[in-house]
Every structure is written in C-alpha cells, then in structure tokens.
C-alpha cells in the first residue's frame, strides 16, 4: 500500500510563539520540531506499511529550515519525504495548504493518506477534510484505531458520545487522534539513516498551485486581561484558602 503521511514542522511549543509585526505570520526559526501530534500518524503509517509491504512518504508544507522536524519523522522509519517550501506560501490559509498537500500527494500516487486532526500551531482543524474533497476520496476522520483488510480501511471514529466504526475502500484519507497508536522512538540507526533519505523539495508553481489566501489579518491585539489573582505558597494550610473561595462562590 502506498501511504502518504502529512506532517508539519512547527516552532518548539515549549518556547513562546511570536508573530511577525508586519505580516502577522507566526515566526518560524530555522530549528523547528516535528509536530508532536504527527508522530501518531507516522507510526500508524509505518505499521500499516509493514503489514501491507508498502511505503510511507512524508508530505509537508512550510519553511525547510534545517529540516530537523522532517528528519525526526524519517528517523522513525518513513521512506522518503516531499517538502513544499515556497516564500509565496507563507501565512497560507487552510484551503491553500490543502491544495498544495493534495497536489503533492497526487503527484506521488497513493492508496492511503494519513494526517493528524489539526496542527498544534495553526489548528484550523479542516485541512484533512479539504484534502479528501480535492482528492475525491472518503475521509475517515478522528480515528481512535485503524486497521486494513485487503483494500478496506476500517477505523473507530471519535464522536461526542463514544465512537462509530466506519470503513471505506481505498483510495481513502484517514485523520488520526493522538493515542491511535504508541509512537516508536527513533533508534540510533534510524537517526543515522534519516540523514541519507531523500527529501524532494518543490515550489507551489512546480505543483501547479497558485497561492491565494482569501482572507487577511487586519488587527492583532491583547485579549482583555483577567484581574490578577492571588498566589500563595502552601505552608500546610493552603487547602483552607480553597475551601473559603469555594464557599464565597457558593458551590459548597
């Protein structure tokens, strides 16, 4: 099975995010990391590729930087990567992103596309569904588990009250939630191998996609601040402060 896994390099969430004061786009340092939520899709892809004697191709859009995040996913075992890095795509909206990723996936050829449900830094949460429509395939979304039998892909789909069992035949797109599988840690060999794996780089024009964001940011402002509270160091009786506040709030 030819499996395309969408991944994203993002600024390390452990360090504060900042917007470019002119463009209002998120500032992206050269050193970015693999979005943690993408590790689940990569792992799922690897397991299904092992089962079906298939391949895993990573597909990503964004500034290449030093490729650290892409190498992290390659080190887990993905076979190759395709990266679309194009100045004209900075600050792209979700639809442009989906167009670019779908065009790259179509170019590679695929039976199964795997993505997360949303990125940690942009979280529009609609790119997988946009890609599915552009590729003309079913979208099995919010998967808690995934299995493949022949050309049928089956998932348990998260719902508000539990889950649904849903299936479709390939070609198909699956978006996975965190926890769908336990991601592996790269081995030393994996890390060394990743340095030699192919990372094909394209521009939007190479893929025939014209960047066109139909929206523009007009203002960025601080949210109204909460009135600052009180901070106390526990010296053995801090729980009483909580009880008092709960009484004042009339919940006890």
């Amino acid at each position: 099975m030819r499996i395309a896994v969408c991944v994203k390099q993002i600024p390390d969430p452990a360090s504060p995010y900042e917007l470019d004061p002119t463009t209002h786009f998120l500032q992206r340092p050269a050193e970015q990391v693999l979005d943690d939520t993408d590790r689940y899709g990569v792992e799922m892809g690897l397991q299904l590729a092992e089962q079906t004697e298939g391949t895993v191709t990573l597909v990503s859009m964004g500034p290449a930087g030093n490729l650290n995040g892409i190498r992290q996913a390659l080190a887990m075992g993905a076979h190759k990567a395709v990266l679309i890095d194009d100045e004209s795509l900075r600050g792209s909206d979700s639809l442009t992103t989906a167009r670019v990723l779908a065009a790259a996936i179509e170019r590679e050829g695929f039976d199964l596309v795997i993505s997360g449900t949303e990125s940690t830094d942009g979280y529009s949460g609609v790119v997988p569904q946009q890609m599915a429509e552009l590729l003309g395939v079913p979208a099995l979304t919010y998967a808690k588990s995934v299995s493949v039998e022949g050309s049928t892909v089956k998932i348990n789909r998260q719902t508000a009250s539990g889950y649904d069992s849903v299936e479709a035949d390939t070609p198909v797109l699956v978006s996975v939630t965190a926890g769908v599988v336990e991601p592996r840690y790269p081995t030393f060999k994996g890390i060394m191998d990743a340095k030699k794996k192919t990372v094909d780089q394209f521009t939007a024009a190479d893929l025939g996609v014209a960047p066109d964001s139909g929206q523009t940011i007009v203002s960025v402002r601080p949210a109204p601040e909460r009135s600052s509270g009180e901070k106390v160091v526990d010296e053995g009786d801090a729980h009483l402060r909580i009880v008092t506040l709960l009484e004042q709030a009339k919940v006890i």
Partner: protein
C-alpha cells in the same frame, strides 16, 4: 443573509447550533441547514431561536453522509446565495465545512470566537496563544464566507416565536468520496455531570505524576458534584479517556469554578478553560503559566494539598 449549519443531536439541535443561531439572527435574516431527521419539536426550537427557513438534510443510514451533505449545501448556496455560513467546531461540522470549502474554492476562518458585520465587511475574531491575543481577520474573497465557531462563544437565547418554513432537501449520491460505511455506533457512558454543563470542574495534568493519581481528582470532584477534566498531555499518555480533555483539541468549558491541579497551563489547555468564572490552580512550579489566569494560585505539592482538601470537603 446568515446561515447556520446545525447537526441533529438525538432529535434536538446541537447546543453549539443554538448558540450560533442566536448570533446569526443579530447579523441578519437567519436560516438553518439542519443535518439529521429532526423532530417537530426540534423545528419549533429552531423557530424560537430565530430561524426563518430550515433546509433539512436527512442523515443517511449506515454512512457518515458528510460528503453528500457538502454537495447538497453547494447546490443550496448556488440557489440562495447566503452571505455567510456558521459551522461549529465539532466533528461532523468540520467534516462538512472542509469539503464544502474545497468544492466552492472558498476559504474558511476557523476557531472564531466572534463575528461582526459592517456593510460588506465581515470580521472574524480568533484567540491565539492560549487566548492571550486576539486576531481580527476579514474575508477578501467573495461570499459565501465560511466560519467555524468555537462552542460557548455565544450565549444561546430564544428570540422568536414564528414556526420556520421547513424545506426538505434530498441528499445526492456522494460517489467514491461519500462511499464510507458506518458499521456500528458505540456510546461510552461516563459517570457524573457532563464537562460542558458542570458548574464545577476539577482537572488534572502531568503534575499528578501517574495515572493512579487521577483518583485524587475524582475524590475532590465527588463532594463538589463536579465533572473531571484533563490536559492533553495526560490524555495522550493514556491516563484518562479523550472525552475528559479540556483545551484546543478537547472541550471548551466555562464553569463557575475550575480547579486545576498539576496543570502547567500550556496554551492549548488555557484556551479551553480561561473563561471560567473562578480559577484555582495548584502547581509546584512557581512560574507555571496557569498562575497567570488563576484567581487563587497555590504554589505547592498537589499530593499534600489535595488529600487535605478532600478531608475538609468530606467533613462538611
């Protein structure tokens, strides 16, 4: 003309749908695209919240129906040309709006917490960086403008009494894109009040140290009749089910009291709970970002504080 996409939830309109409908009728003539069979009382309810017309799409048996719904919506849009369509940040709504956007070639502004209309300009407000920063975005493409709204951004208030005109719309054949098959539906019962509705929430994070320690959270919650919540970190770690997750990728909550124990206050968590009326935080790390939103911040070990709190609550 503002449309609202509302999914049927067990015979009644989804709560986020009524929140959006309340907002939509303030923006102009409001109509609803209803996804699901919908009882008579559901239609009456939509009228009470200001829907003039309800376009009702039946959900198919044994399929998600989201590809076909997007197809039906594009046809309705071509016929009636709404200015904007509001969707909720929910599983089904995201599936439909994503496909619709790609079909129409129209952008989506997601995670909206407010929408304002001034003449032809529609401004959508988003929260970023854990809700510390607001971003206003305008559409530069032609309508219809597709907007995905975070639950609890608006307060649902009835404001009409006329019965809506109900127009039944048949779902088209979705082709391969719509060839998914739903083979089973499973409900996971959880005890206690629902997260979205609870007046008090007690939430735990990585600072608990282990899955077993979530029992402390349950014990604080019980006498308070509170719901229990969790951060993404401990849901990802498999300590508690996803249904308890509060934050960007989980639920948005606004209880009277939110008690966060061992929660550092990552941006992704803050955005889901920072609008709680009173926030109480317990964390060992004096620098934890959660303290920036806490009305009462306790710098201390939750393994010391919570057992004493449990005893104090029990003895009342």
């Amino acid at each position: 003309m503002a449309w609202v996409f509302i999914e049927d939830a067990g015979g009644a309109p989804a709560t986020v749908g009524l929140e959006m409908l309340t907002k939509a009728r303030q923006l102009g003539d409001a109509s609803v695209v209803y996804f699901g069979a919908g009882t008579d009382s559901a239609m009456t309810e939509l009228g009470r919240y200001g829907a003039g017309t309800v376009y009702q799409l039946d959900k198919p048996d044994g399929a998600l129906g989201t590809a076909a719904a997007a197809q039906a919506l594009s046809a309705l849009i071509a016929e009636h040309q709404p200015d904007l369509i509001l969707f909720g940040l929910t599983y089904t709504d995201r599936d439909v709006v994503g496909r619709l956007s790609a079909r129409l070639g129209k952008p989506i502004i997601s995670n909206a917490v407010d929408v304002a209309v001034d003449g032809d300009t529609i401004t959508v407000t988003n929260e970023i960086f854990g809700g510390m920063t607001l971003v206003d975005t305008v559409f530069v493409a032609d309508p219809p403008h597709l907007i995905v709204v975070r639950p609890k951004s608006f307060v649902a208030e009835p404001g009409g009494d006329a019965a809506p005109t109900v127009v039944q719309v048949a779902l088209p054949d979705g082709g391969h894109a719509g060839s998914d098959r739903v083979t089973g539906t499973f409900v996971e019962e959880s005890a206690g009040p629902k997260l979205e509705e609870a007046a008090v929430i007690v939430a735990g994070g990585r600072g608990l140290g282990s899955a077993d320690a979530f029992d402390l959270i349950e014990q604080v919650a019980r006498p308070l009749k509170a719901a229990t919540g969790a951060t993404r970190a401990i849901v990802d770690a498999g300590w508690v089910p996803y249904a308890k997750q509060v934050g960007q990728t989980g639920k948005t909550v606004k209880p009277d009291v939110y008690i966060a124990a061992g929660v550092s206050g990552a941006m992704q968590h803050l955005v889901g709970m920072k609008d709680s009326k009173i926030i109480i935080a317990i964390n060992k790390d004096d620098e934890a970002p959660i303290f920036s939103v806490a009305d009462l911040g306790i710098v201390g070990d939750l393994h010391q504080v919570l057992p004493k709190l449990i005893d104090a609550l029990k003895s009342r």
